[in-house]
Structure formats: C-alpha cells, structure tokens
C-alpha cells in the first residue's frame, strides 16, 4: 500500500517526536464489517509509530473484551495509553487525517508526559471536576478550527480521570452526527446534553462542565 504520509510530513513528525518523553501506546479498534476508514486508520497509526521507538500500536476487534474496557462502540476508534499502560480518557473516533493530524500529534506528545502550559487557575478548575464527564468534539477533516477544540477536550481529560475527551469525525459517523444535529463544526457535546459551537476557550468548556 502506498504511504499515507509523504516524505515532508514524515520528516516534520520525526523532528516533533523528539519531544516525546515516555512511551505511548495507541490501541486501535477496527471492524471487518462496513468500516470504510479502518484500513486507512490502521495504516496511519502504523506509519506514525514507525517514526519513533517510543510509539507502538495494538489492534483489537470492535467486539473484543478490550473494546468494552475502553467503552469503544465505533470503528475505527483508538485510545492512547501512557507509559504505565493507563487510559486517561483520550479517544479518537475516525481517522485523524487532514487538519486533525494536529490534534493527534499533540495528544501523543502530551500523553508522553511532555509539559504543557496551563494557567494555575484553569488547572485548579479542571482538577475539581468530580463527576463523570464525556466531551465529544465533532470535526471534519477540512476544518482548520477543529483541532484546537479537540486538543482542549483531550487536555481536560488528561488532567482529570473523570473526564473522557473524544474526537468524532462527523462524516464517518454520520448517524451520530445526525443524532446530535451537527451541521457546523467543531461542535462540542458534553454528557450528550450540553453543547458548544466553534473552537471555544477552555473556560467555556469548564463553565458548561461546572453547570452539570
């Protein structure tokens, strides 16, 4: 199969992966039935993993026990695990190609333990979240404003074990997009009830979460 990532992008990523501190595992879930982008997603993750010895991929079926463990209901989906093999609520549903390569790569870097700048007041508000929170960020791959929103959802998830942040590629998961009336991206759905539109500041995410 022809490579998904061209030489230029590979070189850029190799350089960026110098920032990886610890190992990160990508756990991918695919399905043999009716999964248009499973093969491409598998290809992408494999190619990315080849660019750093700190990255690896595991693959399971959508109907596996592992899928239940990470609450996976769609394919392709993948989660990131930190060096200790812990799941910190960082999930991608659909292939993070196009502009979403940006949210994918920054999630890998942050999951590896690289430090990220976050104001103390915001950090405190994130750490105070004490109930289960699910943040879905619907995106299209041609949307330049979407990775920013995905990164915020993932950042909140990484900083609080009660939170799961998921990217949802709206075209691949058409039924889910229709269910949540997605006609503009990024659209952010919190606990399947509250919604935000656009790449909002992290404070807006927190206001919604705090109102739950």
């Amino acid at each position: 199969m022809e490579k998904l990532l061209n030489k230029e992008v590979q070189d850029q990523l190799r350089e960026v992966f110098n920032e990886l501190k610890e190992n990160v595992t990508m756990v991918l879930f695919t399905s043999e039935n009716d999964c248009e982008s499973c093969e491409a997603t598998q290809g992408l993750l494999t190619e990315v993993a080849e660019l750093s010895d700190k990255l690896s991929v595991k693959q399971y079926d959508l109907n596996s026990e592992e899928a239940k463990q990470y609450d996976i209901t769609l394919a392709p989906s993948f989660v990131l695990l930190n060096a200790k093999g812990e799941y910190q609520g960082v999930k991608f549903n659909g292939i993070p190609a196009g502009h979403e390569i940006n949210s994918f790569i920054s999630a890998l870097i942050e999951m590896s333990g690289a430090e990220s700048e976050i104001p103390a007041e915001i950090l405190e508000r994130i750490q105070k979240i004490d109930k289960p929170v699910n943040i879905k960020v619907f995106v299209t791959l041609s949307c330049p404003h979407c990775p920013g929103a995905v990164q915020k959802a993932h950042k909140i998830a990484m900083l609080n074990k009660n939170v799961v942040g998921e990217m949802v590629e709206a075209q691949t998961f058409y039924d889910l997009s229709t269910k949540f009336n997605v006609s503009g991206v990024p659209k952010i759905i919190i606990n399947d009830s509250l919604e935000l539109v656009g790449n909002q500041p992290i404070e807006r995410f927190l206001e919604q979460i705090e109102s739950l």
């Binding site: 061209n6 292939i95 190609a97 196009g98 390569i101 104001p119 075209q171 503009g184």
Partner: protein, 321 residues
C-alpha cells in the same frame, strides 16, 4: 473524504515578555506576516501574535489572483507565508489573543489572554474580519442546525442534501462551486446582482445542480428542530417565495475585527479603522493593515501590501522618536 495531511507543527514557543519589542504585529494573515517580514529586514525586534496562523486564508478553498501563484489553496498560500517568516527567525506567538492595548508614555502595553504583558514601541493591528450575519429571523435559532458560515469546514456535512448559499460576491460563488460538488442541489440567493469575478461566475454556470435567484432578499430561515428552508422576496415581482433546504451558508461579506482598538483609534461607521496612506491610525505608533482598515477592496494582495507599508512607516516612526 480527503486525507490531505496538513501538519502545522507544535505551538510551544514561549514569548519573552522581558524585552522591549520594536514592532508587534497582531494577526495571522497576509498583512501581519508581510509586515513582520519587512520589519525584521529593517532590523526591528519583531513579534507576531496570531489567534489563528493563516487567518481567513484557511477558509479559502482556492486562490487564483495572487500574482506569481497560478492556482493554490488559501491554506497553501498561508503555508508559504509562514515558511517565509520562519526562515528568517521571526518570533511568533500562536493561538493567543491580545485582550487589551494601552499606550503608556511612548510605549504600548499589550495584555495577552494568558495575562502576560508585552511592551513595544509600535503595534500593527491586522486582525482582519469575521463573517457578517444576515440578520434575519431564524438565523440564530438554527445557528447550529443548518445555518453555517464556513463552507470549507462544513460542506462535508451536507453530502447529498439541499443547500442555499446567501451572497453574491467571490466567497459566495466559490462556496456554491465547492458545495455543489458534495450537495445534491445548491441554490444561490442574492439581494442584488453578482459582484463576483466573471471567471468564477462562468465556472459556477457550468455546474448543473446550481440554481440562481438574484434580486431576492432572504426574509426568514424557518424550521422545527432544525432548519427546513428559507422565505425570500423576489424584488422584481414583489412576491414572496420559499425554498426548502437542509442548510444555508451565509457568505455576505465580513465585518472588521476592530473591537480591540475601538476606544483607542478612529473608526468609520462600518467599524473599519481609518488609516492614512502610510497605514497610520489616529494614535501615533499604532498602525493598521488589511481587512480591518477602511481601505477599499478586501483582497489578499492589498492586505499584504498594506502590511509592508505599515512596517516601513513604523520603522520611520521609531527612527524619528
């Protein structure tokens, strides 16, 4: 579904707030980047603060009128700009918003969203513009249930559906051409005659699934849980008509993002910053360039040129103050 990977690098550059800058350009579009290029070449301590590197170019599917580049996407053009300024080590702060500008003595203090304060001798406001709203009933109610403002982002969500495009300028016609490739049918509705370039209109005319209503004023966007269609007035016959549709892209131009300096400099009634032929505003040391100014014709090349003028004028100002 196009997979075209567009990796823009990690944003981890930390801004040095301890130094006095000569020139800070606020913006992530052609005006800010070209200004930074010119300022740096003059030897000025230069910084670019961009909310979103690339700015409106990122929402432009194709650019065919920037001299020297026959055909490329807005995003590709912005990548060229950014590569150019990075090649000469211009400092950038990305994904940051300047929340306040204050002139203290001869210097400007710029407060960023994260609370950091930058100090500089001169400032360029090149903050561009945001999509203009139609201002009709239903626009806000269906804001995320059919009504959209970014064709390049949201077109994939309307695969096989009926879509309306409001507007008659270049961005509306380009949106119609792009969306027609994905949607079942596109209807373009505009209150007067087309303002778009003839080459774009010609390109649109050969698409079989586009219908055109000129001299038609949109009155209302209606629906239930989501948008179902629009009501419009045919100004020639003075008759109302309805069009059923699943979505509407509003492409009726932009409003300048001048809020940051509205109490500092003179604006015209369109909220555009009034500039001189040297891009000076009414506040010495503060310059403006690109779509945020009162310069007519919002074009990439016009913004680029204004950025150059602003930097040269700022350099002159610094040398004489």
């Amino acid at each position: 579904m196009s997979l075209n990977f567009s990796f823009s690098g990690l944003n981890k550059a930390k801004v040095d707030t301890s130094i006095l800058y000569d020139f800070v350009a606020i913006g992530g579009g052609p005006a800010a980047y070209n200004a930074a290029l010119y300022a740096k070449r003059k030897g000025l301590k230069t910084l670019v603060v961009a909310k979103k590197p690339g700015g409106q170019l990122l929402n432009t599917s194709s650019v065919d009128n920037y001299l020297g580049f026959m055909e490329l996407s807005g995003e590709e053009l912005s990548e060229h700009f950014i590569k150019h300024i990075q090649s000469i080590d211009i400092k950038e702060v990305n994904d940051q918003v300047i929340e306040n500008i204050q002139k203290v003595g001869d210097l400007f203090e710029l407060t960023m969203e994260n609370g950091d304060v930058l100090t500089t001798k001169t400032v360029l406001v090149a903050t561009g513009s945001n999509p203009r709203k139609l201002g009709v009933k239903g626009e806000d109610a269906f804001a995320n249930a059919g009504v959209a403002y970014c064709a390049i982002c949201d077109a994939p969500l309307f695969k096989g559906k009926d879509v309306i495009i409001a507007g008659g300028g270049n961005s509306a016609v380009e949106a119609a051409i792009d969306v027609a490739k994905i949607a079942k049918h596109v209807t373009i509705v505009h209150r007067s005659q087309f303002r778009a370039d003839q080459v774009l209109i010609d390109k649109m005319m050969i698409q079989a699934n586009i219908t055109i209503h000129l001299e038609s004023q949109i009155l209302e966007i209606y629906g239930d849980t989501k948008m179902r269609g629009i009501k419009a007035l045919d100004k020639k016959t003075n008759e109302e008509f309805s069009i059923e549709a699943d979505g509407i892209f509003i492409e009726i131009g932009n409003i300048p993002s001048s809020g940051l300096v509205k109490d500092l400099v003179e604006l015209n009634t369109n909220q555009e910053i009034i500039v001189t032929h040297k891009q000076e505003t009414s506040l010495p040391g503060l310059y403006a360039a690109g779509d945020v100014t009162n310069t007519p014709y919002k074009q990439i090349i016009v913004a680029t040129a204004e950025g150059a003028k602003a930097a040269l004028a700022a350099n002159e100002y610094i040398n004489t103050h």
